[in-house]
Symmetry: C2
Subunit: 232 residues, 2 copies
DNA sequence: TGTAAACTACAAACGGCGTTCGCAGTTCAG
DNA sequence: CTGAACTGCGAACGCCGTTTGTAGTTTACA
């Protein structure tokens, strides 16, 4: 909506994004900390105690300084979250060589992305917020395009497909994190006949094998090797 | 993970969920406000100014009272968000009669859900948080099961399918809300050859017709009318 | 009917948050 | 050498969700 604030290298207010602003000037004492150290401490904190525990004061305490001092290195907590995200996206490297089927290649990338979410559960909470795309995220995106190179279709379709794959990955990551986190106790189940019918059935024999892969395979073939009869 | 806190009618600490706790007792003056009025004010605020504007103080001001007074009707802000969510889910009623193909029925429901997200953009931010399932959400779920009744497969698969549909809906809602909200300015694009190649191509002739529907159709058939050769 | 318990409203306060500001000390450009 | 640009730091600001204390009101029950 509105005038598209497009967080980029230089927004209207003259402020620079975290990706283009230099870490420090040439004068003054050598800083006691660094952007990297702060990001590292924040990630460690998020991995260990979850995203809500990542407060400026907590990070500063972990680094042995005050909360206000962090603003010598960052301009806001949002910038820090962007840096954290891009840094862990870097863990997706090294990217495998483009060999074999492009579909298998995309599935491999998706599985790696899912593993990344397992390593850093806070990624789910952080990725839903409009963020500035960092260099590692761009590299990942670029690599997806590389794998999709043999596919003959419009770039728009590829963009859509990549976005959908990322979305489905976060979907699975979210459902894995929220597994069994609620129940129906206390509700008047009598009002929901199909629900009680479903629960009165014998439990499923076993979870279907690799719902993740089947979903993505269906999605990608559906989006990229489209039925030519409905070319719009 | 851990001991599954299962937010339900009565959690371990003896506190009752917002769905089972009575709104008021029998003694004392008649309350000046009501749970419904608070929820309504909160939804109006969220629709107009976004979820961050929904602070206890703002709601209280809108109702002409103090922030602390709201705790006579709610036990926490999280409870309020649960109530808000369930209330707008009620807007999905009335549910259409189960006629025609189940796939078409599910697609209709999904489209309605997407429209709901368009009406209440804050739903995206609120639904990613582990929440207590309210009666309207249960009714919606029950209705999905009703539509899927003619499908002959395990209930587990139906649950998975419903969850995936909801997830894909929120995916599309999110991408619609974030459309064009970032750019690559300031980045050294030379390091991303496939990205620049993609952008140097002529723009797509036109967006593919109804990516939403095609995605869901592929997903549902893939998940529910599974290939019998790989029955697990 | 009298009284105590249960309920109401409300303002003030608590602790935490992200962030800003002023101050004192340090380093380097001109 | 001087002054500008930087550094760390602690106090403060204005928000937030929530708790608490006080005072007034209504109902249940002896």
């Amino acid at each position: 909506m509105s005038d598209a604030p497009t967080r980029s290298g230089d927004d209207g207010s003259g402020r620079q994004s975290i990706w283009t602003r230099p870490e420090r000037g040439s004068r003054g004492p050598v800083p006691a900390h660094s952007r990297d150290a702060i990001v590292e401490a924040a990630i460690a904190l998020a991995d260990a105690e979850g995203l809500p525990a990542v407060s400026m004061r907590a990070i500063a305490t972990a680094l042995g300084t005050g909360a206000g001092s962090l603003y010598r290195y960052l301009s806001s907590r949002d910038d820090l979250l962007d840096l954290m995200t891009d840094r862990v996206v870097g863990e997706l490297r090294p990217y495998p060589p483009a060999e074999g089927d492009w579909l298998d290649g995309m599935l491999l990338l998706a599985r790696r992305q899912l593993a990344l979410h397992r390593r850093h559960p806070w990624l789910i909470e952080v990725s839903h917020r409009p963020s500035a795309v960092g260099p590692e995220s761009l590299a990942w995106f670029d690599n997806c395009l590389r794998i999709l190179e043999p596919v003959a279709c419009a770039v728009t379709a590829k963009f859509e497909a990549i976005a959908m794959v990322t979305g489905v990955v976060s979907l699975f990551a979210r459902s894995a994190a929220a597994a069994g986190s609620f129940s129906f106790a206390g509700a008047d189940l009598a009002a929901y006949p199909h629900l009680v019918a479903a629960f009165s059935q014998p439990p499923a024999p076993a979870p279907r094998a690799d719902l993740f892969e089947r979903t993505l395979r269906g999605l990608l073939t559906g989006l990229l090797v489209a039925d030519p009869t409905e070319a719009g």
